[in-house]
């Protein structure tokens, strides 16, 4: 015994017409892809095309300019026989981890402080942001002086009577890389702060209220609700910082010039100098390929997990 009313049969004149897919409809459906296409095409050519070109170059004998004479793995062999290269990679590991970690920590910390309805926000915000505005071509000099034991902080402390004060990392080959971290953090953390602040400002206030009612302390609210909600911002910050860490060039050149010795050599300075000042373009390309492979190894799994988890 069925209780569901049967669907009445369609009357002949009511036979539905399937809406023909007109060109305009096709266009509408394709529109999002059309909008994205130019960007993607440009990226394909100017990034991936160039990567392929670089890979090819690394197998040639190019020195001052690209030549297309096959050189096999010679460039890679040379690359891996350079002690500088090992130093550069080790430095990148130290620098990258500290720089990204500290920038995110400080950036988030300041952003959270700034989000507490601070009176002087308009004054403080530019103070934390301005280092990004200054080119390292010049701030490098200021930092160099500031960190130099004979001119800067240590000198001032001695003048002030604190004779035992020591801060000579800049000239100490074992510590110099950390001064690069300090200057790098100074430069980029403000921007990270801005990203986090934008993220914080986008969070629905009701949710925070709910958490307060749930008895969460301010710290717990940040730890459990807000920071997890800022997850996409962490992704952005990570990408921005990772790319800056990998590309850091000005910073090192202006601050230490890669020294003392080769203590602050980074893959980017290595690559630049081999490509453009040492006239070993093939080796430079090989180092670029190694860098890209390293980046792939780190970024791709990260991206994969990050992008996949969003929409289970």
């Amino acid at each position: 015994m069925t209780t569901i009313e049967p669907v009445p049969a369609l009357t002949p004149e009511g036979t539905p017409q399937r809406q023909g897919r007109t060109f305009a409809d096709g266009l509408r459906n394709a529109l999002p892809k059309i909008v994205l296409a130019p960007s993607f095409a440009v990226i394909l050519i100017f990034v991936y095309g160039f990567i392929l070109w670089t890979v090819y170059l690394s197998f040639t004998t190019s020195r001052i300019l690209p030549v297309y004479k096959w050189g096999g793995f010679d460039a890679y062999y040379r690359l891996w026989s350079q002690p500088n290269w090992y130093v550069a990679m080790q430095n990148l590991a130290i620098f990258g981890i500290l720089y990204i970690g500290i920038c995110i920590a400080i950036g988030l910390f300041i952003a959270i402080l700034m989000d507490q309805r601070i009176r002087a926000e308009g004054v403080l915000r530019p103070i934390f942001l301005y280092p990004m505005a200054l080119s390292f071509v010049v701030t490098g000099t200021a930092w160099k002086w500031f960190l130099n034991p004979g001119l800067g902080l240590e000198h001032t402390m001695h003048n002030l009577g604190w004779e035992s004060f020591r801060f000579d990392w800049l000239v100490n080959p074992n510590m110099a890389i950390y001064t690069v971290v300090i200057a790098g953090v100074w430069q980029a953390s403000g921007f990270v702060m801005a990203m986090f602040l934008a993220g914080l400002r986008g969070i629905d206030g009701e949710i925070v209220k709910a958490a307060q009612i749930d008895g969460a302390s301010t710290i717990a609210i940040y730890r459990r609700i807000i920071i997890p909600l800022l997850r996409p911002v962490f992704l952005s910050a990570f990408i921005v910082l990772a790319h800056m860490a990998i590309k850091s060039y000005d910073l090192v050149i202006a601050l230490t010039g890669g020294g003392p010795g080769n203590a602050t050599e980074l893959p980017s300075t290595f690559m630049y100098s081999y490509t453009f000042t040492r006239n070993q373009m093939a080796v430079g390309s090989a180092s670029a390929v190694m860098m890209l492979m390293g980046i792939t190894a780190i970024i791709v799994p990260y991206l994969y997990s990050e992008l996949r988890e969003k929409h289970q």
Binding site: M1, T3, E5, V7, G14, Q19
Partner: protein
């Protein structure tokens, strides 16, 4: 000819099948109310009609045109979202006018239209505010306004009045009714409010877990529920379900209720079939059909008087609901609010069997 047809519509999200083959049709100018328990797929169905969620299979036909693949903006539909979905960057006025603007209506006409709608919804003083500066009910009214300002082919309303106070709700309800009557708009409406469903609908569809349970006019749904689910779901407090057994004893077919074997109640007139003696049945009786003796319908053909112990008394102002116990099974009666009744008392209830329906406990369907 039906104006809106939904044919064997299915929707899967992930592994869950949310709509399991829905078939509905609605004539032009019809007012379809969708009801069903929370999470049964009402919003999903509205979204599919609007074109916001592509169905997994099945078709949607509006006015003879298969729109299943048509873009939402081309369907000429207005919708009120359960979650409001107001544009945070626009004022109330701009929110309401937006759809008109998109359709190229000129500024002056837009303004008149917005004024008009705002007046109806009593939000004239809020026109310059942003959604974040409104109370819940005010937001909901803005969402309403966004739909009412238009003259689409179909209106879709998803619980549009849930956050309004009763008085305002009555007023807006009347407004919707007037809109429907004056413009002959075709409307699909989701609500949990029985009064809304009963007073507005020309047709009610009861959904459960993505399947249609019954389609009918409000009176059919209320008085002749197709099965136990519909009977239980529509009406508040719910229909009383009393277990019993068919008894032919004494020549006339009747029902003996478990827990009160002595009283045999007459077979309700809604049952025309001849039932086997001893068959288990469920007798369904709405609370308003069980009253104190004073309130009993004097014109009723068959009334059973049954004494039962009072276990709960709930005054609602206009009435008092009295819960009685009949050996394990309890039932709710609606009585006058000033009835004299006490907890624990043996109270004589009048059961108006004219209004009763009978269900088969096995199939859960109604027995005619």
């Amino acid at each position: 000819m039906s104006f809106l047809e939904i044919k064997n519509l299915r929707k899967k999200i992930g592994n869950v099948e949310i709509l399991k083959g829905i078939d509905i049709d609605l004539e032009k100018g019809g007012f379809l109310v969708l009801v069903g328990p929370s999470g049964c797929g009402k919003s999903t169905l509205l979204n599919a009609i609007a074109g916001l969620l592509p169905p997994s299979s099945g078709d949607i036909v509006i006015d003879g045109q298969i729109v299943t693949d048509l873009h939402p903006s081309k369907r000429d539909i207005a919708m009120v979202f359960q979650s409001y979905a107001l544009y945070p960057n626009m004022t109330v006025e701009e929110n309401i006018a937006f759809a008109l603007e998109m359709r190229g209506v000129d500024k002056a006409s837009r303004e008149t239209a917005v004024k008009q709608v705002a007046k109806t919804l009593q939000i004239e003083h809020l026109l310059k505010r942003r959604p974040s500066q409104l109370s819940g009910g005010q937001r909901q009214r803005v969402a309403m306004g966004r739909a009412l300002v238009r003259q689409p082919r179909v209106f879709l309303f998803d619980e549009p009045l849930s956050n309004l106070d009763a008085k305002l709700r009555v007023e807006v309800r009347a407004e919707i009714k007037a809109l429907h009557q004056n413009t002959h708009a075709t409307i699909v409406y989701v609500t949990h409010d029985q009064i809304e469903a009963m007073t507005l609908a020309t047709k009610i569809v009861v959904l459960k877990e993505g399947m249609v349970q019954q389609v009918g006019t409000p009176a059919e749904i209320y008085n002749r529920p197709a099965n136990l689910f519909v009977a239980d779901f529509m009406g508040s407090p719910a229909m009383n379900m009393l277990k019993g057994r068919v008894s032919d004893a004494g020549g006339q077919q009747g029902i003996v209720l478990f827990g009160n074997e002595t009283t045999k109640v007459a077979m309700p007139p809604s049952v025309t079939a001849d039932l086997a003696d001893g068959k288990d049945v469920i007798l369904g009786l709405r609370p308003e059909a069980i009253t104190d003796a004073g309130l009993a319908d004097p014109q009723a053909r068959s009334i059973a008087r049954i004494e039962a112990e009072v276990t709960m008394i709930e005054p609602t102002g206009s009435d008092t609901f009295v819960t009685g116990r009949l050996d394990g099974a309890s039932f709710t009666a609606r009585t006058r609010s000033d009835v004299l009744v006490e907890l624990g008392q043996k109270f004589p209830f009048s059961f108006n069997l004219d209004k009763a329906v009978v269900f088969d406990p096995q199939t859960t369907s109604r027995i005619d």
